[in-house]
């Protein structure tokens, strides 16, 4: 083959290194010449945005940990000290606190992108499942992080969520004691949550590594959902997508900065600025917004064990998604029926979010039950059924042909 392009491992030092550890070579291969479908839209920015968020969370978290004190008597004050006395402590904390929200927004969009364009299908099943693992780890990390400031919502959120495990028949109670390290949520709980909150992001880094290896094995999916078959279908990652990702990142950071500087507490709960009081439950315990749809599913059944089972199934169902979808076509662009129900799911999840944010009375309960029912109907019944019944529209011959409008390709109804 022709020698690699400019910047490749040609220098003496890089050759010396690459002979022993093919770092430059691999980076060049995976981030520079890496052939990428030429038709990726902005929906493909969210993967790199999630990566950026992970780095931001780890960097701000490590600096916060230099001042934070994981002790039930001192934690709240140490966070207040970070806010008031530590130089730029307020900035570090607001970046970290709102970063969790931004991270989840990005990842949720990333997931819905995958759902719309069928990115979970052959040969990307493992890539998708690793993504679901990352989501679970993120949830655990964010949940434990939210406990650290030891405010009222920290304490009662921790109580409600750890108690979920007590619904498990037989061993439930022992598991909860192991989580708490005491008779109730208390200092031992705070200590172990801090330890795990520090650890899990690095586990996420490792799983993200596997996610990327799986991604680069078959390359990105694309808006047409068809495989790329040759050089006419792809462009090198650099400079085309490095530029596109950087532009997306700049816009994203702008929005993030507006929140951090102008509305840093908009997404938070004011109850969490009241120190934890184990003897008084706040009138309304609501989790952070990113857990609301799942919280709504939990509350939609009046039976505790069943509610917990549904809660975990809501994520579990994502694991088996590649096998629930029976359609051979990936992109919703060519699936007229699936395209419609995709938006139903979006509305359904938003409705669940609304339900989770309100006390379960009257209409809220009804909406919650219908939306929960639809959520499972969507994945367990509609997915297999529509794949079989729907008649997909004709697929273009290749990405290149579709993008460049080549001749008689049956994609006239593009858009």
């Amino acid at each position: 083959m022709a020698p690699p392009g400019p910047g490749a491992a040609n220098g003496r030092i890089t050759r010396w290194i690459d002979y022993r550890l093919p770092f430059v070579k691999v980076m060049h291969h995976e981030l520079y010449e890496y052939p990428t479908p030429r038709n990726l839209s902005y929906w493909w920015n969210f993967g790199s945005l999630a990566g950026a968020m992970l780095v931001i969370m780890i960097v701000t978290g490590i600096f916060l940990a230099m001042y934070y004190t994981p002790n039930a008597d001192l934690a709240f004050d140490s966070v207040e000290r970070i806010m008031r006395d530590v130089n730029y402590g307020w900035l570090l904390r607001y970046i970290h606190m709102n970063g969790a929200s931004m991270f989840f927004i990005v990842v949720y969009i990333h997931i819905f992108r995958g759902l719309y364009y069928g990115s979970y299908k052959y040969p990307r099943e493992l890539l998708w499942m690793l993504g679901v693992v990352i989501l679970l780890l993120m949830m655990a990390t964010a949940f434990m992080g939210y406990v650290l400031p030891w405010g009222q919502m920290s304490y009662w959120g921790a109580t409600v969520i750890t108690n979920l495990f007590s619904a498990i028949p037989g061993v439930g109670h022992d598991i909860v004691t192991l989580l708490w390290g005491g008779y109730v949520v208390g200092n031992p709980t705070l200590n172990r949550f801090f330890s795990l909150h520090y650890l899990l992001p690095f586990v996420i880094v490792a799983v993200v590594g596997l996610h990327l290896i799986a991604l680069h094995t078959h390359g990105s999916n694309n808006p047409l959902g068809i495989d790329h078959k040759g050089p006419g279908d792809t462009i090198p990652f650099h400079p085309y997508y490095t530029v596109k990702d950087s532009f997306g990142l700049a816009v994203f950071l702008l929005i993030y900065a507006v929140i951090v500087f102008y509305a840093p507490n908009f997404l938070g709960d004011p109850q969490n600025y009241i120190p934890a009081n184990p003897l008084q439950t706040p009138p309304d315990i609501v989790p952070e917004w990113y857990f609301l749809p799942f919280y709504a599913i939990l509350r939609s059944v009046p039976n505790k064990l069943f509610g917990v089972i549904l809660l975990f199934s809501a994520i579990g169902v994502l694991f088996i998604l590649p096998w629930l979808d029976t359609s051979p076509v990936r992109s919703a662009k060519f699936r007229p029926v699936y395209k419609k129900i995709f938006w139903l799911l979006v509305i359904d999840v938003l409705a669940l979010g609304w339900v989770g944010a309100h006390p379960p009375e009257g209409i809220v309960v009804t909406v919650g039950r219908i939306a929960t029912f639809y959520y499972f109907l969507h994945f367990l019944v509609l997915f297999p059924l529509i794949g079989k019944l729907e008649r997909p529209r004709p697929l273009p011959l290749s990405i290149g042909a579709a993008v460049l409008g080549g001749g008689s390709v049956p994609v006239a109804e593009r858009g």
Partner: protein
């Protein structure tokens, strides 16, 4: 030749044995190495020591009044019920609303498995933690502004709306599955109790309750 065959025959089971023995020993080693890590997550000795029994003087509690004390970090509700309230607890209009009116689920020691769920009918002693997901229910006597007119008096959990009567028995049709648990306690005098200790003759184990 013959020698070689017997040698081979004896060799294979010998290897199997070595493999099994080494594997079994290895498994024992792994488990006994993991165990300290798991066990370290259990409540520490001083945490358990801080859970020793406590004494409570009931004399200052007026009829109809409820106080909260802390035992093992958990709120313990002590309610002194009026004769009217005690009558109400036995009336079918109350008991038909309940999921477990006869306290059949193990949520109390045998000495409190009765309609008043206590030793002395006048004093209710329960762990004030909702059996749904662990919030602290609020004491709402009859006529409380928060509840509707038909409310017979009892406990209301603000988190997901579970309701309990004045014996802390859970209502049917609410998310909480069980009655509030009764801790072990014992009258040491006419109006003094020790929470955390059974009366003489009982060896009831608090950790045997279905759900805290």
């Amino acid at each position: 030749m013959a020698n070689e065959i017997t040698h081979g025959d004896a060799g294979v089971p010998r290897r199997d044995f070595l493999l099994l023995a080494a594997g079994a020993l290895g498994a024992v080693g792994v488990v006994s190495t993991i165990w300290p890590f798991i066990d370290s997550l259990e409540p520490a000795a001083d945490t358990i020591a801080a859970g020793a029994p406590i004494d409570v003087d009931l004399a200052p509690v007026k009829p109809g009044q409820q106080i909260t004390v802390v035992w093992r970090g958990r709120p313990i509700f002590i309610l002194r019920r009026t004769p009217d309230e005690l009558k109400e607890l036995q009336s079918p209009s109350d008991t038909t609303l309940l999921r477990d009116p006869n306290s059949e689920v193990d949520q109390q020691p045998e000495y409190a498995q009765n309609w008043h769920r206590s030793i002395n009918p006048e004093f209710l002693v329960v762990v004030g933690i909702c059996t749904h997901l662990g919030c602290i229910p609020m004491f709402e006597p009859r006529g409380s502004a928060l509840m509707d007119a038909s409310w017979p008096g009892g406990y209301f959990c603000p988190c997901h709306g579970s309701k309990y009567d004045l014996s802390a028995r859970v209502f049917a049709g609410v998310p909480a599955p069980y009655n509030l648990p009764v801790p072990p306690y014992n009258f040491t005098a006419k109006d003094r109790i020790t929470i955390g200790e059974n009366p003489k003759g009982s060896d009831w184990d608090f950790s045997s309750v279905e759900q805290i």
